[in-house]
C-alpha cells in the first residue's frame, strides 16, 4: 500500500514538472511587436501651434485658379487644399481687357522694296492678363518680278483670317509689358497667275514667251511665335513678333503651286514677323498694389 502511494506521488510530480516546462516554451506575447516605451511613435503628434512636417514625397504646386495642390509623388494622388489657402494669386480679373491692333509689318516692308503683302488688324481678349485668345483679319496681294525679269507673279487682293492664343509670362506683373508665346492657325483663299514668262532653251536656241493661267487656291497654315509688347503712352502699345510658320494644306494645282499666300508670306520661307500698334481697353481698373494688399489682409 505504501509502495502504491509512492507511485501515485511520483506520477503527480511528473505531470506537474511537464506542465511547468510547456508554459516556458510558449511565449505569452510576440516580442517583435512590442515597441519599447522610449521609441518615437510612427505618426508624430502635432502639438497646438506647431506646423506639421510634410513628407519629402509630397510637393506643393498650384492649379489654374491659384489654389494650392499637394501632390504625393509616390502614389500620384493630388490633394486640393480649399481650406487653408485664402485667395488665388492671379492679380487681374478673368476678363481683364480687350486690345485691338494694326499689323504694319508688310506695309513697312513694302516701303523697303518688298513686292507682296498689305497688312491686318487683330483683336485680343485678356484673361487674367495671362491667356489671350486672338483673332486677326487682313489682306494680302503680290506683284513680284525677279531680278532677271524672267516672269511676273501676280496675286490679287485677297483676305486672310487667323485665330489663336497668346500665353503671357508676365501675367502677375503690370499689363504695360507682355512677353508671350503664341499659336495661330491661318487660312486664305486667293487667285494667282504668272505673266510675261520668257523661257529660253539654249540647246534648241529657242526663246518662248508664255503665261501661266490664273488658278485658285485655299491654303491653311500654322504659326508659332514669340512676342514682346510695351505700352508707350496711355493705352497705346507697340509690339514685335517673330513667327515660325509651316504650310499645312493648299491643295493641288495643275499649273504649279502658289508662291505667295496672304497672311503667311512666301513659299519656302520659315520665318516671318509682325509689328503692331495696339490700343488696350481695360474692363476693370485694377491696381496691382491694392489687389496684393487685399490678398494679404
Amino acid at each position: 500500500m505504501s509502495s502504491i502511494r509512492h507511485i501515485l506521488i511520483l506520477v503527480c510530480a511528473m505531470f506537474a514538472v511537464t506542465t511547468m516546462a510547456q508554459r516556458r516554451i510558449t511565449p505569452v506575447a510576440n516580442p517583435e511587436n512590442k515597441r519599447p516605451e522610449t521609441e518615437t511613435p510612427v505618426v508624430k503628434e502635432v502639438k497646438p501651434g506647431e506646423t506639421p512636417v510634410r513628407p519629402a514625397s509630397v510637393i506643393e504646386t498650384h492649379d489654374m485658379e491659384g489654389r494650392v495642390v499637394l501632390v504625393d509623388t509616390i502614389s500620384g494622388v493630388e490633394y486640393h487644399d480649399t481650406i487653408t489657402v485664402k485667395a488665388p494669386p492671379t492679380v487681374y480679373p478673368r476678363f481683364a481687357a480687350v486690345s485691338v491692333g494694326v499689323n504694319a509689318w508688310d506695309a513697312l516692308a513694302r516701303l523697303a522694296g518688298q513686292q507682296y503683302g498689305v497688312g491686318g488688324v487683330w483683336a485680343e481678349l485678356s484673361i487674367h492678363n495671362w491667356f489671350k485668345p486672338i483673332v486677326e483679319f487682313g489682306l494680302g496681294m503680290a506683284d513680284y518680278m525677279p531680278k532677271d525679269e524672267s516672269y511676273r507673279y501676280k496675286s490679287g487682293m485677297a483676305p486672310y483670317f487667323k485665330i489663336g492664343l497668346n500665353y503671357n509670362f508676365l501675367y502677375n506683373s503690370t499689363p504695360d509689358y507682355s512677353v508671350y508665346l503664341g499659336l495661330r492657325y491661318g487660312i486664305s483663299s486667293f487667285s494667282y497667275r504668272i505673266e510675261d514668262v520668257t523661257a529660253v532653251n539654249g540647246y534648241w536656241d529657242e526663246s518662248t514667251t508664255l503665261s501661266v493661267p490664273s488658278q485658285h487656291a485655299t491654303a491653311g497654315y500654322f504659326e508659332f511665335l514669340f512676342g514682346l509688347r510695351v505700352q508707350i503712352w496711355r493705352n497705346i502699345s507697340l509690339g514685335w513678333e517673330l513667327r515660325v510658320h509651316k504650310l499645312l494644306h493648299q491643295g493641288t494645282h495643275l499649273y504649279g503651286d502658289p508662291w505667295y499666300i496672304p497672311g503667311f508670306g512666301t513659299d519656302g520661307s520659315l520665318f516671318s514677323g509682325a509689328f503692331s500698334v495696339s490700343y488696350t481697353l481695360p474692363f476693370q481698373r485694377t491696381s496691382k498694389k491694392s489687389t496684393i494688399s487685399e490678398m494679404e489682409n
Binding site: 524672267s150 523661257a199 532653251n201 534648241w204 493661267p213 499649273y255 508662291w259 512666301t266
Partner: protein, 155 residues
C-alpha cells in the same frame, strides 16, 4: 532626265562611245559627243509638239549610221510655275513615244509629265550581253568596247 538600262538585267548601265543629239538641232550640236554615259538630259522643244533625238554608236562594228537609233516624243505643252528661283516653264505631258530598235530594246516612261528637274522620268533599255570570262588577257581592244565594268556589252 533619261537613264540607260540593260534589258537583260534591268539594272543601270553605262553605254560607251555614243553621240546623242536632237534631230534638226542648230549647227548639229550634240548633247553627248562620243563619250560614255549612264544618263542624259533630253531637252524638249518648247515651240513644237514633237521632239526627236538620235543616238550614234561609235563602237567597232556598229559605227555605221544605219545602226543609229531615233527616239520620238509627242506631247502637250502645259505652262507651269515651278518656284521663285526656277520661275515658269513648260511642263510636257507625253502623249506618245516611239523608237527605232537597232540597239535599243524598249523605252519606259516613269511619269508622263516631263519637267526640267533632275528627276529620271525616262528609261532606255539597251540590248546587252555578258562577256564570257576571257582567257587571253592581252586582248586590249575588246576591253575598249565594253559597255561597263560589269562586262555587259551591247550586241
Amino acid at each position: 532626265m533619261a537613264g540607260f538600262y540593260s534589258y537583260t538585267t534591268l539594272s543601270p548601265i553605262s553605254v560607251n562611245k555614243i553621240s546623242l543629239g536632237g534631230v534638226d538641232a542648230p549647227d548639229d550640236s550634240l548633247i553627248i559627243n562620243n563619250a560614255s554615259a549612264s544618263e542624259v538630259y533630253l531637252p524638249f522643244r518648247a515651240e513644237h509638239d514633237e521632239t526627236q533625238f538620235y543616238i550614234h554608236y561609235h563602237s567597232r562594228g556598229i559605227d555605221d549610221s544605219a545602226f543609229n537609233d531615233t527616239l520620238t516624243f509627242r506631247y502637250n505643252r502645259l505652262p507651269y510655275f515651278a518656284s521663285e528661283e526656277c520661275g515658269a516653264m513648260y511642263k510636257y505631258e507625253v502623249k506618245e513615244f516611239s523608237s527605232t530598235y537597232h540597239l535599243i530594246d524598249s523605252i519606259a516612261l516613269l511619269d508622263v509629265n516631263i519637267t526640267n528637274t533632275d528627276r529620271e522620268t525616262i528609261r532606255i533599255f539597251f540590248r546587252t550581253y555578258t562577256e564570257p570570262p576571257e582567257e587571253d588577257t592581252d586582248d586590249s581592244e575588246n576591253t575598249d568596247d565594253s559597255v561597263d565594268s560589269a562586262n555587259r556589252n551591247m550586241l
